[in-house]
Amino acid sequence: MITRAAHEMSAAMASGEISSVELTQAHLDRITSVDAQVHAFLHVDTEGALAQAQSVDDARARGESVGPLAGVPLALKDVMAQQGIPTTAGSKILEGWRPPYDATVVSKLKAAGVVILGKTNMDEFAMGSSTENSAYGPTHNPWDLTRIPGGSGGGSSASLAAFEAPLAIGTDTGGSIRQPAAVTGTVGVKPTYGGVSRYGLIAFSSSLDQAGPCARTVLDTALLHEVIAGHDAHDATSIDAPVPQVVRAAREGSVKGMKIGVVKELNGDGYQAGVRSRFEESLELLAKAGAEIVEVSCPNFEYALAAYYLIAPSECSSNLARFDAMRYGIRVGDEDGASAESVMNLTREVGFGREVKRRIILGTYALSSGYFDAYYGSAQKVRTLIMQDFNKAFTSADVLVSPTCPTTAFKIGEKANDPLAMYLNDIATIPVNMAGIGGMSLPCGLAPEDGLPVGFQVMAPAMQDQRMYSVGAALEASLLSQWGAPLLSQIPALVGAK
């Protein structure tokens, strides 16, 4: 049962084949069995999960109508505040903090009867592409435990690939949903900015952060998308408009007559051979399914990475200022005679990891007087150029596509001391965040040279998220008929697995 898709689990519960408590317990058992190796979870809320499962079962028993994902377990990225549940954002500085409130996404999940199993590992404050920057140790890719599961949401994606959960929540600032999805052979969607409330999402870079759904199938992702999306009065940057009909698009899965634009600049040099070949094959399948494949050029995308590494650190230097040992989190150096300032300084030195400090200092520099215009100001202009590139491209294509990442999963430790090489992982995912549009990654096969999953990225104009689901579902169906079974059926069994 745990290897099935979420919508299948839901159907099984509806038909009485299994209860939510049984389903939840099966996943908890799986976590107990394999998570010592994968380390996808930072906290497992056994009691809370079973209680929620029981209440869904009770509601069903009373004949109440429940939502399409009621009773289905989910893994929540530890960047989301959940009332009473340890929430660390992967940082030591928040060790032991239990929020007194729920993020809007969490409230919506609870209201939909989704069972939250626990909190998943991540790069500290979502800064990273490998989950190696977690203060609580790295997560391992279930495809190959010596490799990274992507980041920052490596825990969420790994939990899906390891069958510890059929659904997960991620957040994506520069690719933190899509890149982990790509390297774990799972599906992840970054909705249009403002499509899902950020209230309760511990901010990394406010103008780029966006929470989104993760699952093993396009339809499951769409079902979760509809649960968490929608306007929220607690988020001034939330879009007050109907949620795009993503479930309908995923069910129809039609690309007939659609124009699919291949972004010239997000392919070619620097992209692994197996990544390119799988990507090309997918284009052929989409063409066969009735889409028209065109090439588009987005010349300013080559500046996106540079702009991102100014904007995101600048915003983070301010967003992370609140972690000062005064109101919550750890406090270091509070000895007799210590001042508030020295306690702040020491706590932040000890509580933040290297990458976080690096970005805070970089952002502090980029915003400081005398450098603002040259760095932050220029980066904002690049942002304008990237949006213009997208606007132009979307006049000749309904969606844009590219490989999600230049390579498959790299080895843990391989890029840990080379920040620039690490940053290059996000080269294809960052433009989407800069423009605030939607982006999806879905698996398109294994690279022949290393047998690791390759991600296919679909990008749609703002508030046209359903287009990604149309393309994703069509490609998924074509690939499935070619493979005969889901890609994850090829994943090596984890030692200790039942």
Partner: protein
Amino acid sequence: MSNLSRSDVAHLAHLARIDMTDPELDALANELDVILEAVARVQEVATPDIAPTSHPLPLRNVTRPDVVTPSLTPAAALSGAPASEDQRFRVPQILGEES
């Protein structure tokens, strides 16, 4: 183009309230040099005629009505506090001025 010294980074670390060690400052100075050189590429295309974009959405005037909603209980507000006293957050002595 930029060449950050240890004291430059120390100044930034002070602004950011991080008590870094000297080796850390030195290492960071080198790393930032490399990163800054890479990110300075934005200046190649950021010409004066381009308007900056600080936010991806063209939203305006998003407000809330002036209505009181329930606050946290003091116990909840203080639940994460490293120290508290008399229903207040207790913090080490504050150096600097009276505000």
